[in-house]
């Protein structure tokens, strides 16, 4: 937790207005990218590549949490899932294929439109809703995912509380986000954005949150962290799950 005291985060982030935890300029930025979302070589190429990696973590967490069979085709059959900050549905579609009744929420209406169109083409029945989580009356879910979102959010505590409120007792939450380290600054913000692997303006390093900070915020929101893995990159293995949390990390949590 030593990082937290020296962090410029709390000073540099504008205050959240009411329930609107996504900054307007951030939502607009992703809206512009909506049409390109589903192009695996397009501006979201890194997210596409990240997808099998984070789904690997989710699958393991789901099997672990609900005692499922690691080989079953539909480990989420009969379960409801909510993806917060769903973009164009990169995560919602696999979750639907794994058997969940999926709801995706995104602040940018263009994303939701793109997601809906894509799910239609893929013949998947997914409910997509534009708007802010706190302003939507969605009920509760077995699984709540919020991946690569919290770093774009000004008031992280508010977001985490509304995630916790969407979980049924015995539910499972999955979050992922970049760590705030010199490595992530160099690679994610300065490196990957400079060479165009990640669109410029996607990340503000000072908004990143460390695993220690996030775990503390989760506990304050009434969630108990369960498992955590790093998402690392190497030229040989590409993106992969590892014990090195310095770049990006993904974790599971349950209602305390």
């Amino acid at each position: 937790m030593s990082d937290a005291t020296t962090s410029p985060r709390s000073n540099s982030t504008p205050p959240s207005t009411g329930g609107a935890t996504i900054r307007p300029e951030e939502a607009e930025h992703f809206g512009r990218l909506a049409r390109e979302w589903w192009d695996p070589q397009g501006s979201s190429a890194m997210l596409h590549r990240l997808n099998p990696v984070r789904l690997g973590f989710i699958r393991e967490a789901v099997d672990e949490h609900w005692g499922g069979d690691a080989e079953s085709a539909k480990p989420l059959a009969g379960k409801t899932a909510l993806d917060v900050g769903c973009g164009a549905g990169l995560l919602c579609e696999p979750l639907a294929r794994l058997g969940a009744a999926v709801t995706g929420v995104d602040a940018a209406p263009e994303n939701v439109a793109a997601a809906t169109a894509h799910a239609d083409g893929a013949r998947l029945d997914i409910r997509y809703l534009p708007g802010e989580l706190a302003e939507l009356d969605l009920g509760r879910f077995d699984l709540v995912t919020c991946l690569e979102v919290i770093e774009h959010v000004a008031d992280k505590a508010v977001l985490l509380r509304s995630l916790a409120e969407r979980l049924v007792p015995g539910g499972l939450a999955i979050l992922s986000t970049p760590n705030r380290t010199p490595q992530s600054k160099l690679l994610l913000v300065e490196g990957a954005e400079a060479v165009g692997m990640i669109p410029k303006g996607t990340h503000h390093w000072s908004d990143f949150v460390t695993p220690e900070e996030l775990c503390e915020l989760l506990r304050e929101a009434g969630l108990e962290p369960l498992a955590m893995k790093g998402i690392g990159f190497s030229p040989m293995k590409g993106l992969h799950l590892s014990d090195d949390l310095s770049l990006n990390y993904i974790l599971s949590a349950k209602p305390a």
């Binding site: 589903w38 695996p40 596409h48 099998p52 789904l55 690997g56 696999p94 639907a96 294929r97 893929a122």
Partner: protein, 406 residues
């Protein structure tokens, strides 16, 4: 198009590789269309034409894992030894594995492999087999792929797989560039009946014009001893050799075999294949994967290309099954990227392509020179040497697809 006609895989080409793929995929729960223009009855007609395949231990594991090994076992002729000689001069070099290392492979008539595959495919509800079907149009869209048949039927799937062999029209249409090395030689392939038993020895006899390979086959029903012949001749001489009368051809063969198996009593129908090497720069496209000879081929000599193709099958099915566990559909670009990385153009294949085996080895001494003379087919047939070489050249181990493991 009826919605029920959309399956996971649209496999174009239902030969040895395509049909094995459909069966292996079905084991993992994937449904498929298999489209082939050939008449299965013709492909499995009686006859001994020498068209045979060496099935490596890894390929045999795949057959076992899809339930074919039991029925095929009685048709296998194990290769106990590979003998290499220089123009039948004294000084034969034997490659014999230690007892615990298993066989050097099993020889099968392609006809027997097809019979087993076709029977299994007919009994597999996840496979829709469209034989004697001509494809008039192919389409790869954002969410699905389809093929239109000459009779107007449209077949759809999530992923198109080209398993059509070296001349793959699907690959051509997709514009996937292919690199070819033509050795200006042809392999003449036929079945031989001979007086003495082969004792499970595969012979590689080197002549200046190229290798003359004899691959052990099971005895015929009447007890005749049989081998498959793969005879490499100069492109310029191939047409003439193919046109020889049976008697004249026999005499030519006899001259090159010496007294190895006694008198050669009969030859089957002859076929020939151009000798060359080809490899595509990429083996995937949008919702498209190439397998087997569509993607890469080595010398057709001794049917080694099938082992390469079956490794593609194992890798692709494993990638798709791993993806399905994560909720990713078969056409997912990330899955195809993994298959591409696993089976695509790599240093090892490039080395082969440039005839670099000998240069790459660059090891002095008699063993290395034997390997050099042995050539590609030989190395392919030596699982231990091959494993060592592959691991060395690629710097990876443990990349054998799950389905190709014991």
């Amino acid at each position: 198009m009826a919605l029920s006609d959309r399956r996971d895989l649209l496999i174009l080409g239902g030969g040895l590789v395509g049909m094995t793929l459909a069966l292996a995929a079905a084991k993992e729960g994937f449904s498929s269309h298999v489209v082939d223009r050939a008449d299965p009855a013709e492909l499995t007609a009686e006859g001994f034409d020498g068209r045979a395949s060496a099935i490596s231990t890894a390929s045999w594991n795949l057959f076992r894992n899809i339930g074919l090994a039991e029925g095929l076992d009685k048709h296998a002729c194990p290769i106990a030894t590979i003998a290499v000689t220089d123009q039948l001069k004294p000084g034969r070099i034997d490659f014999s594995p230690e007892p615990h290392e298993g066989t050097l492979g099993r020889m099968f008539a392609n006809r027997q492999l097809r019979l087993a595959l076709f029977e299994a495919a007919r009994g597999e509800p996840l496979i829709a087999w469209h034989s004697q079907a001509e494809i008039v149009a192919r389409e790869r869209g954002e969410h699905a792929v389809s093929a239109t048949l000459a009779d107007g039927q449209e077949l759809a799937g999530a992923l198109m797989i080209a398993a059509e062999g070296r001349g793959s029209p699907t690959r051509e249409e997709a514009g996937l560039a292919i690199a070819k090395w033509d050795y200006r030689h042809r392999a003449i392939i036929t079945g031989l009946e001979h007086e003495k038993p082969h004792e499970n020895v595969a012979w590689e006899i080197f002549y200046p014009a190229g290798p003359f390979a004899l691959l052990p086959m099971l005895d015929g029903a009447d007890g005749t001893h049989r081998s498959a012949l793969v005879w490499t001749v100069d492109e310029a001489d191939a047409a003439g050799t193919l046109k020889l009368s049976d008697r004249a051809f026999l005499a030519e063969v006899d001259k090159r075999m010496g007294d190895l198996f006694g008198a050669v009593t009969a030859v089957g129908p002859r076929a020939s294949f151009p000798l060359g090497f080809h490899h595509t720069a990429r083996i995937t496209g949008d919702r498209l994967a190439l397998v087997g000879d569509s993607a890469h081929g080595i010398h057709p000599i001794a049917g080694q290309g099938l082992n390469l193709g079956l490794r593609d099958v194992g890798a692709l099915v494993e990638v798709l099954a791993d993806g399905a566990r994560l909720g990713l559909e078969p056409g997912d670009a990330q899955l195809l990227a993994r298959y591409e990385k696993w089976r695509g153009l790599d240093a090892f294949m490039v080395a082969l392509a440039t005839d670099g085996l000998t240069r790459l080895f660059g090891i002095p001494g008699p063993a290395a020179s034997a390997v050099r003379r042995f050539g590609m087919g030989g190395v392919q047939r030596m699982p231990l040497l091959k494993r060592w070489f592959m691991d060395e050249a690629r710097g990876v181990s443990g990349d054998v697809p799950e389905m190709l493991r014991a």
